[in-house]
């Protein structure tokens, strides 16, 4: 039993470590290259303020995309992360306004996000509804509830202590960046050094083999979707703290960038290959592109087009690479 269990796991781990390092280096090089180009094109780019701004935006994106990375590693998908963030932010803002307690508000956001994620996980793992359908339905349920709950209005004005989470600095570095680095480290340890993390790769590489080798696939999947939901809730906290306002519709534009960050980061949509480090690099790359478009004063209306195009290019590379490696194998 243990031998059959070890074989696919070892293969999955090798998959995850081996070519990954080189690919990650390519991506870091792309970020550096892009940064150099932008520095030449725009003087404002290299200012300390702008760099911190890029990092801060990338860290919010990473928080949403990190949970999504785990889901995609299992060959699943979570289309509800943006709408989840919107609903969690709205409910948390209302709680915070009613009680005046940032702690209660934050717990509400985390709980709301995790609950939505648990719902997704139950549909995917328990009822075996295809992930993109289950989470797509959840997207509209969340978004509808948010519009109903918030009406056309906004909830704004949160305690200064709470806002530190989004706008504050620690040793001259914005607080969200610490969150990004912290969750990158924790997440990488979990995915690379624990049974849970190895199981995620195995499920994504071959769900049948995973089940046959005794991995509790359903429990793992429910856990992964719940984590993804909770991370959306956490991102909602950071979002609220930075923008100081919640209204319906804030989560909708975040889904496509989150998927883009994961795919640019080299995590395969087909499951079993990828890393959280890649997602950090992906989030940085995407934020740099959008930031560069801003600095070059390109109409902001182009941004959804650019993000959509980047998703397609990243997915194209993913598909072609996969076919190439299959042909070799």
């Amino acid at each position: 039993m243990s031998a059959t269990a070890a074989a696919p796991r070892r293969k999955a781990i090798m998959h995850a470590w081996g070519p990954d390092v080189l690919q990650a280096l390519y991506r870091v090089a792309a970020v550096v290259l892009l940064a150099i180009v932008l520095a030449f094109l725009s003087k404002a780019f290299l200012s300390w303020g702008n760099i911190l701004n890029v990092l801060r935006q990338a860290s919010l994106l990473f928080l949403i995309a990190s949970g999504l990375t785990l889901v995609i590693l299992t060959a699943g998908l979570d289309l509800s992360v943006g709408a989840n963030l919107g609903l969690s932010a709205g409910v948390a803002a209302a709680v915070m306004q009613a009680t005046g307690s940032p702690v209660l508000g934050s717990l509400t956001a985390l709980g709301c996000g995790a609950l939505i994620g648990f719902g997704n996980g139950s549909m995917v793992a328990g009822l075996r509804i295809p992930p993109f359908i289950a989470t797509y339905g959840m997207l509209w349920v969340c978004s509808g509830l948010t519009y109903y709950f918030m009406g056309g209005g906004a909830i704004y004005g949160f305690p200064a202590g709470f806002r530190t989470l989004g706008t504050g600095y620690l040793f001259g570095v914005p607080v969200p960046i610490y969150a990004m680095v912290g969750f990158l480290v924790i997440g990488t340890i979990i995915t690379r050094r624990t049974t849970f993390g190895q199981d995620i790769f195995t499920i994504g590489a071959n769900a049948v083999a995973a089940r046959l080798s005794g991995i509790p696939v359903r429990r793992r999947l429910i856990a992964v979707y719940t984590i993804s939901g909770a991370m959306a809730g956490l991102a909602a906290i950071v979002y609220l703290a930075r923008v100081n306002s919640a209204e319906a519709g804030i989560g909708e534009p975040l889904l496509l960038p989150a998927i883009a960050a994961v795919l640019i980061g080299g995590t395969s949509l087909f499951g079993g290959i990828g890393s959280l480090f890649g997602t950090v690099v992906g989030a940085l790359l995407l934020t740099l592109v959008l930031n560069g478009m801003n600095l070059l004063s390109i109409d902001a209306n182009w941004q959804p087009f650019a993000t959509g195009a980047i998703v397609l290019i990243a997915l194209l590379i993913d598909t072609v690479t996969r076919r190439h490696s299959e042909r070799r194998a």
């Binding site: 289309l79 295809p130 509830l145 795919l263 941004q303 959804p304 397609l312 076919r323």
Partner: protein, 295 residues
């Protein structure tokens, strides 16, 4: 559906009045036109999330050509071109390159939305020629034009799906693609054709949409793809087995039309209507699973 009708009729007698029934038909016409190709796409184990955004884009293009004084046929051709273009992009990436449909169409969703917003700078295109609206309200033989067009679209889709080789292949691409390829059929091109055909239907729908609103709005139809997918799911078409039927989609469209109309009469806000449709879809999928497991 009968349950829904009797339920709404007992609470609100106005529900069964002739004007209201016509109203449901009018509201459902555009949805049906995009739900038909969505059925074929889902039958082929795909999905098209970009439809709502492309529909909005088509409407914007149509309105802009009309506002600049272009003739209606030219405006329609431009909208049709935009929609078929996006259908073809989806088709190339999904069918010829082999990329997963839901992420491809999510990407093209963003691109279409972006183009619509760049074209309009986020504003509504108004000032359409006076006569344009009239054709939407016209009633040859006492039947509103949108319902006629939707009926024609249904007949075309039915004919294609059940009386041509293309239709047989649509079912086979979803049900057993390998057998199809092994029997020497260029399945990829037929598969591509499904997405391109989707563009044609969306182009036609954009004509009705623009006429109904008498303007071009860059994001108005976003979310309609969800109603279309919901209608297909409610109609009993499977997402992964190549099984389903077009009549089911028609029924699904009517259920959604009746549900939204009835909830409107009950003063339920449209945000909660979306929630109820989402829950209805998930419930249908659950029943489908349990039914499937038993058989």
């Amino acid at each position: 559906m009968i349950l829904l009708i009797t339920g709404f009729a007992s609470v609100r007698p106005a529900f069964l009045s002739l004007p209201n029934i016509t109203n449901i038909g009018l509201q459902s016409a555009i949805l049906l036109i995009i739900a038909l190709p969505q059925t074929m796409i889902i039958l082929s184990e795909g999905i098209d999330i970009s439809m709502g955004a492309v529909l909005s884009l088509g409407g914007v293009v149509l309105a802009m050509v009309l506002v600049t004084g272009g003739p209606v046929y030219l405006a329609f051709l431009a909208a049709l071109g935009a929609a078929v273009g996006f259908g073809a992009i989806n088709g190339v990436l999904v069918c010829l390159v082999g990329m997963p449909a839901f992420v491809v169409t999510l990407g093209t969703f963003g691109m279409a939305q972006g183009i619509a917003e760049v074209l309009t700078d986020g504003n509504v295109v108004v000032g359409l020629p006076a006569g344009f609206e009239a054709f939407y309200a016209a009633r040859p033989l006492g039947i509103p034009v949108p319902i006629l067009i939707a009926a024609a679209a249904y007949l075309v889709a039915h004919g294609l799906l059940y009386h041509t080789r293309f239709g047989t292949y649509v079912f086979a691409i979803g049900g057993n693609r390998e057998a199809l390829v092994l029997s020497g059929v260029h399945a990829r091109w037929y598969h591509f054709g499904i997405y391109a055909l989707g563009g044609v239907f969306v182009g036609v729908a954009s004509l009705l949409l623009t006429a109904r609103m008498n303007s071009g709005h860059p994001t108005v139809a976003i979310g309609m793809e969800f109603d279309a997918i919901a209608a297909v799911a409610l109609g009993g078409t499977s997402f992964e087995r190549g099984e389903g039927w077009l009549l089911g989609t028609l029924l699904g469209v009517l259920v959604i039309g009746i549900l939204r109309n009835g909830l409107d009469l009950l003063m339920v806000p449209s945000s909660l209507q979306g929630v109820s449709i989402g829950i209805l879809v998930i419930a249908t999928m659950m029943l489908d699973r349990w039914g499937g497991r038993r058989s």
